[in-house]
């Protein structure tokens, strides 16, 4: 029944969509309002984010957000008329997400 390999891109997109819907807004509020306004010190946030659980949170969020972007953006470009480049677009977008995931993993593990 597995006629197409789209399910893998789509499940990453869906997981990413759910994760980003729940977690991204409050994270942006933290990094763009709460810390710059001084309600929480940058050092405090730094000390929180080096904790293992926080690092895991960052890794999962970054990776899923990138895969969510990749799948959706690829289809946006196709919808905007770049239909013939569909294959190249897929490789480029998912490739960027994979690269970002590897980088995030590397930096968050090698602390």
């Amino acid at each position: 029944m597995a006629k197409s390999n789209e399910p893998i891109g789509w499940s990453l997109f869906s997981a990413g969509g759910m994760a980003t819907a729940f977690f991204i807004p409050i994270t942006i509020v933290l990094t763009s309002i709460v810390v710059p306004a001084g309600w929480i010190g940058a050092e405090s946030l730094h000390d929180l984010l080096v904790l293992p659980l926080a690092r895991l949170y960052l890794f999962v969020l970054i990776s899923l957000a990138l895969f969510h972007w990749a799948h959706r953006f690829r289809y946006v470009l196709v919808d905007l008329g770049l239909r013939n480049l569909a294959g190249i677009l897929a490789i480029t977008c998912y490739g960027a997400a994979v690269l970002g995931t590897i980088m995030a993993g590397f930096f968050l593990v090698s602390l």
Partner: protein, 117 residues
């Protein structure tokens, strides 16, 4: 179809806006990625967080990311169909549950962050 097909109808336009929110989500993920590269360097980390252009970009991204969340949660009951015997679990109930979860998660994260200040 012309490349500006999505400007011809309100529903198409809102659809494209919804899809383009992924650029802001991806962009913020990139910001988080750069932030993680500075986790070994508290000064650099703070500099990134206090950078005015980056703050401005995040403020612009904030309503876009909210639009993503709202449209995503509103569409969830269409995708997630739950049955209780002959009746479908009310789609409205599922949406409300999603918003409640979103609120709880946001409050918990804020609470953890403030706990650590």
């Amino acid at each position: 179809m012309p490349a500006d097909w999505w400007l011809k109808k309100k529903t198409y336009f809102l659809f494209m806006v919804r899809e383009l929110t992924c650029v802001f989500v991806g962009g913020y993920a990139l910001f988080l990625l750069v932030l993680t590269t500075r986790l070994g360097d508290p000064q650099g980390f703070a500099a990134l967080l206090n950078s005015p252009p980056l703050i401005a970009l995040q403020i612009i991204a904030l309503p876009m990311v909210f639009y993503h969340s709202i449209t995503w949660l509103n569409l969830t009951p269409m995708v997630m169909v739950l049955w209780r015997g002959e009746e479908r679990v009310s789609p409205f109930l599922i949406t409300v549950a999603m918003y409640v979860i979103w609120a709880i998660i946001s409050i918990v994260i804020l609470w953890i962050a403030f706990l650590y200040r």
